[in-house]
Amino acid sequence: MIARALRRPGMKFNAVFGIIVTGALIVLAVIGPWIAPYDPLKLDLPARLSGPSAMHLLGADEFGRDVLSRLASGARTSAWIAFATVIFALAVGTVFGVLAGFLRGWVDRIIMMVNDAFLAFPGLLLALGLMAVIGASREGIIVALGLAYMPIVVRVVRAAVMSIREREYVEASRVMGNSEIITMARHVLPNCVAPIIVLATTMFGWIILSESALSFLGLGVPPPAPSWGNMLSTARPYISQAPHLIILPGLCISITLLGINMLGDAVRDWLDPKM
């Protein structure tokens, strides 16, 4: 199946590029702190706002901190937040989605009502609220973004479950005498995996984007820990003085997202039986 998907010319490029970029992100997230030339928090006031040089390969920020080291460490932050958020949103969303889709009736109606309320609720306020309650932290962002993306998961999973529960193999399982729980666990859930994987890849990209947008509004990863979004945001006043502080994190975000989107396309096509 993979081979078949890879045979299309666009596909192959997508997959290769996506895997390389995403792989690079993961590698950077894991070993970033070791390969970074400096501690991302180390101040070097004389080098403030300096452009690329031998000392600071990609320049230094408004405290003279090394931009390369901060980008590397930001990769870890971004990747970790996106990863944890996806897991969180998927875990919670799948449970509710499966319950709603499989049990239907009033359970479904209540879940969907709450879900709609969540969807209509701008993630921004949710983020601020949770950040304030939990304390400005990565965990706060993970929970906030997780809750913001959860309703989408609920919808996708519910739709998948609802189409799967009408399939004859689910009925076959019932006729066999399997209990509802076993039917759900053995036949419904595994078959939701494909749409969930596709959603997860796409969501990973969205979340990197949302995290950077939140950080940009000052609601994201609390400084001084670097994330690409808050690097961009704190660099804004220096847009004309030190444009590299704006351009570099933005490029990192864009390239990463491009890689993830392409990987997502590849995964989608790979799982799509019509290809």
Binding site: E168, E171, A172, R174, V175, M176, S179, P190
Partner: protein, 543 residues
């Protein structure tokens, strides 16, 4: 008029040949059929005539399709478009997806006339109305402004045909125009088609895998196999005395009445008793209202005896599936009782209900969708056994192997996934799963209608032989009278949720009492009776 010479179609310039050196001729007013099993290249051959092959497929350079002296494979796109629709009309396989859902019927009918005949609006409208009247659509005026989804499959297929025939094309290509329809409707559509084409002396290229239909309507036939024409000639001759081994196999595969008449007609104690069962589907819930509930089964009483096969026949939508599902407990009757060995069948999700259900199994219509695509075959077949506390893993394996032999599957398939099997193999797996725990009763809901004819035959034989071995009773739901005739002991005929006739197979088939049964049988075009049985007497009469 149409002359096809050494037509070859390949996937890409150097790709596999889908159609290989096909040649045939068609004169005005004639009807030619392309027959052959699924995937033999019938559709592609037909599409190539109008230059409508899907993306990677191309006709090879030495192919020739002459229509009225033009070589259609070498025409300018513009000239070809002038021929499409105007000279050569085409009706497609699936009525449900062949009409644009977003455009009114009137628009779609007018489109061709406007394009090729440049008629004034009023005249287009008049002609469309007249045509709709011809095809017996009630209230044609309203039909013009309606959308396709407001019509049933049969009506849509008739509308399709009407919109194509409206331009009086000289050649009509009909690609399995009736496969998705039930027998009664099927006949309507075909009759209409012959009638319309005869009027204009339109030549027809009919594509089908239904030999019964072909023998009934068509003059000449081309039998295709893997892209090649293996035999062609007068349809009566080809079908009655097939020369090629493949044609013979096709003809052989037609269902025939099993020898020895119905078994167990008298013997056997009642296994399942159904009395006065009514099943309503609740209407769809809106915020404050509900749509009307739909009555699918309306006061059915029935007894199924130990070891017998009761066939349930009837037109599409008559409630057959619903009744079958009610018996195994997938649908809850609104009223009435169903008893199994004297005990009322418990409904719902209780443990009791589950225990009871293990003695009843169901084989579904579509072998693909009834198998979990993420499970391996071995697990699928072993799954019902897991519920048996007395079975450990080893015993299960032994039993699975045993069943595999019984249903005629090789063991190397055990570790595969459903999509790695052929349709026939999948249905065997579904059957294996159903009989794994030796149930006393199996519902087979159209177990063969999704399958190829040759495979159909094997599966029907398998069901029959397994039943003989294990002695389970079977409710065989089908609208295919041929299949029913082959496997049933008794037959029940359903119409609009009611049983209108029930009796021994031979009685019902040879001496139908109810007018509905009679019309069903008439429509079924039981070709098998005419030549598969060798009942040559009737043969001449029909032609």
């Amino acid at each position: 008029m149409l002359s096809v010479r050494s037509l070859s179609i390949s996937a890409g310039p150097a790709g596999k040949r889908i159609v290989d050196e096909l040649s045939f001729d068609l004169a005005p007013g004639d009807m030619l059929a392309l027959v052959g099993e699924s995937g033999s290249g019938k559709t592609m051959a037909a599409r190539s005539i109008l230059g409508l092959l899907p993306a990677p497929l191309v006709t090879t350079p030495d192919s020739e399709i002459r229509f009225d002296g033009y070589d259609l494979t070498r025409l300018e796109p513009k000239t070809l478009r002038a021929i499409r629709g105007a000279q050569v009309g085409m009706v497609f396989q699936e009525p449900m997806v062949s009409l644009n859902p977003a455009i009114t019927i009137g628009e779609q009918m007018a489109e061709g006339l406007r394009l090729h005949r440049r008629m004034p609006r009023a005249e287009i409208r008049d002609r469309s109305l007249a045509m709709l009247e011809r095809i017996q659509i009630k209230d044609p005026g309203k039909c013009l402004v309606a959308y396709p989804h407001e019509f049933s499959g049969g009506m849509r297929q008739r509308i399709m045909l009407a919109s194509v025939m409206l331009l009086k094309p000289r050649l009509l290509i009909a690609d399995e125009p009736t496969t998705a329809l039930d027998t009664l409707v099927q006949r309507d559509v075909l009759d209409l088609m012959t009638e319309l084409t005869r009027e204009n002396r339109t030549a027809v290229l009919l594509i089908s895998h239904d030999l019964g239909m072909v023998s009934h309507y068509v003059d000449n036939v081309v039998v295709m196999r893997e892209g090649k024409a293996v035999e062609q000639g007068n349809s009566a001759e080809v079908l009655h005395s097939p020369r090629h081994e493949y044609t013979r196999r096709l003809v052989d595969a037609l269902p025939k009445r099993s020898a020895g008449g119905s078994r167990a007609a008298s013997s056997g104690d009642p296994l399942i008793e159904i009395s006065n069962v009514v099943i309503d589907y609740p209407g769809r819930r809106r915020l404050f209202t509900r749509t009307e509930p739909k009555r699918a089964v309306d006061g059915v009483g029935l007894t199924i005896r130990r070891g017998e096969t009761l066939a349930l026949v009837g037109a599409s939508g008559s409630g057959k599936t619903t009744l079958g599902r009610a018996i195994v407990g997938l649908v809850k009757p609104s009223s009435g009782t169903i008893t199994f060995l004297g005990k009322t069948i418990a409904n719902g999700r209780s443990v009791d209900a589950r225990a009871q259900r293990r003695d009843m199994q169901i084989v579904f219509q579509d072998p693909y969708s009834s198998l979990d695509p993420r499970q391996r075959i071995a697990d699928i077949v072993a799954e019902p056994l897991k519920l048996d506390a007395g079975m450990d893993g080893r015993k299960r394996t032994i039993r699975v192997d045993e069943i595999f032999d019984e249903v005629g599957l090789t063991r190397e398939l055990l570790q595969r996934f459903p999509h790695e099997l052929s349709g026939g193999q999948r249905q065997r797996v579904a059957i294996a799963r159903a009989i794994a725990r030796r149930p006393a009763f199996v519902v087979a809901d159209e177990p063969v209608s999704a399958l190829d004819m040759t495979v159909q035959k094997q599966i029907l034989l398998l069901i029959r032989s397994l039943q003989e071995r294990y002695g389970f009773a079977c409710l065989f739901v089908s609208h295919d009278l041929g299949a029913v005739e082959q496997v049933a002991d008794r037959v029940a005929v359903m119409q609009d949720g009611r049983i209108v006739e029930i009796g021994d197979r031979d009685d019902v088939f040879d001496n139908p009492q109810h007018p509905y049964t009679r019309s069903l049988l008439d429509a079924a075009m039981l070709i098998d009776r005419r030549f598969a049985d060798g009942a040559g007497a009737k043969r001449a009469a029909v032609q």
